[in-house]
Amino acid sequence: MIDIFSNLALGFVGCFQPVNLILLVAGTIIGLIVGVLPGLTLVMGVVLALPFTYPMDVTPAIVMLTAMYVTGTYGGAFTSILFRIPGEPIHVPLLWDGYAMARQGQPAKALGWTLYAALFGGLVSSVIMVTLSQPVAKFALTFSTPEYFAIVLFGLTSVVSLGTGSMTNAFISLFLGLLISTVGVDSTYGTPRFAFGRPILMDGIEFLTVMVGAYGVGEVLTRLGQGFSTVPVAKVSSMKTSLPGWKEVRGLKAMFLRSTILGHIIGIVPGAGATIASFVTYGVEGQYGKRRKELGKGIPEGIVAPQSAATASVGGAMIPLLTLGVPGSGATAVILGAFLLHGIQPGPQVFITSSQMVYTVFASLFLGIVLMCVVGYFAIRPLVKILDFPEAVVSVYIMLLCFVGALSIRNSISDLWLMVAFGVVGYFFDRIKFPIAPLVLGTILGPLAETSFMTTMISYQNDWTIFFRRPISGIVIALTIIALIVPMLKSFQSVARKR
């Protein structure tokens, strides 16, 4: 434990280095802007920031992206509460009580509750993250390829089972993503696969190309097809934050803690991100909360639960990313991409080889959360002003950043073509209701899944029962099966009920 504290102290020292500090502030402000803009999702924002990190060292790059990730879970709260415009899907639950409280003439107080919730959720979750990461990493050092395959399988299955909409569509999207990752020269046999003799395809398809195209270009094309309809912003009387009194906060301390822990746990589960955390905790309040009957009428519980869980999910999501190298959400997938671009493979080894970097990132999360609340408290008016920007202007910048992002991956025009193609795929996926997250996560985790599966098969003479016979992989595979079966059963039940 002392080891962890001393490392964290060194991390704070690292954070105060000018470059890291400047990028932390920049990441915080950009994250808030991304959170406010309805046309720019959190993942897209982090994707677009990626090209800027190419010439940076790995630490400042990750510090900036992590700051954006955490603040993105807070920025959209302003517009949800004041204008009923959720900047992110995360903030939809805030429309129910946050906006209702604002309509009752207390917008400043609603914003105050959000600030407290984000601060508490973020900081407590960061403490849990720091405490758990090193032991988890030590434990993960004992893992072999069957365990890695089982964990990746669990991650991929969770993405499918926790998503909304058709599970079959999510599976198809996932299989296609995994398939994209097989393009190029096979690492075991050196055989070209689906390369069609093209040099760029021989090197494989970079997951960043898929990500930038499907998330960035695809989303802009979808919105262009809707005519870039900008939502008119209503005028509000008060645009400041008023912090609730200590007595009021103390009365909700159990709820603060419950939502934070739940949000953190949901963050750890691959595939479940801030949005699910926010909806689930709101649902839990609706079912078990003391004032569940008043939920939706503008009570603090309806604001604190989703906001604290959303921000807490970030700390949770960082644990599998750093300790196992398995991203659980779109944003952590981009952060994994940034690590890989800088030649670092996250996983248990990173706590030994790059301990200073890991703890600087941890420390930056604490500082970023505090900074986010300070900026959010004082700069709400200029932040909300961003909503006045016409969508066509914002979108053209997004498109061009996507182009530069694609061009800079391998300095190849072919990547630009591939990105545009994946943008069109992203658009059609949206039209036919195929989720994009499984496609992207499949592309990212595909090589790890294939390598760990094939290595296991070679090591254990094609005995696939090994995945069930080894205790840890057996448990994880069992969890995977449960994660698959439960939503299926629920779906059958709802069909039966309808009949």
């Binding site: 299989f175 046999y189 094309l221 097809g225 005519g227 969508e391 066509a392 979108s395």
Partner: protein, 179 residues
């Protein structure tokens, strides 16, 4: 009803056919097989087989078991609101996509500076933004900002273009003091 069902299964048919074609391609991978080892075709074939099974499942489900509910027209009061929210602009989408493909096609010839300026300008117009001075200013400032960031601060090797368009790139780079 039958038409609705066919519309629903079209994407699955396309994916199924593409997956079948790729499965066929995977069978043609050339490699020297190691006895007792799975080949490089195993993993892609497994994924393609799973994709085809998923497509078939969805097609059978849609054709034989799904009831297609045809949306009835909303009440008179709700209709305009709903229509406004669901309004689509397919031509904007087509032009925007062509513009994007055009950017990828022309960027090596025109260079990053010129093609970015044109893309800025045209995309905002396609996006139904009509303040012409704001469009011109945004296009110029936006292009210069991107050039400064990505060609001066964050060095990314962006296309300079071919003669005579490269002259424009070098002129702008010269003004910005980028060597």
């Amino acid at each position: 009803m039958a038409v609705e069902k066919i519309k629903k299964i079209v994407p699955y048919i396309i994916i199924l056919l593409v997956a079948a074609y790729f499965y066929h391609l995977a069978g043609k991978f050339r490699f020297s097989a190691k006895p007792g080892h799975l080949g490089p075709d195993f993993w892609p074939k497994l994924l393609l087989a799973l994709t085809m099974v998923a497509c078939l499942y969805e097609m059978i489900k849609t054709v034989f078991f799904k009831k297609i509910v045809i949306k009835e027209k909303a009440s008179a009061g709700e209709e305009p609101k709903k229509e406004a929210a669901e309004k689509s602009y397919p031509w904007l989408l087509v032009i925007g996509t062509l513009l994007t493909v055009g950017y990828a096609y022309f960027v090596t010839t025109l260079g990053f500076v010129l093609s970015t300026f044109l893309y800025f300008f045209l995309f905002m117009i396609v996006g139904r933004y009509r303040k012409i001075w704001a469009i011109v200013a945004n296009s110029m400032i936006g292009t210069l900002v991107l050039v400064v960031i990505f060609m001066k601060l964050v060095y990314v090797s962006l296309p300079l273009g071919k003669e005579p368009f490269s002259a424009v790139t070098f002129f702008v780079l010269g003004i910005l003091g980028i060597k």
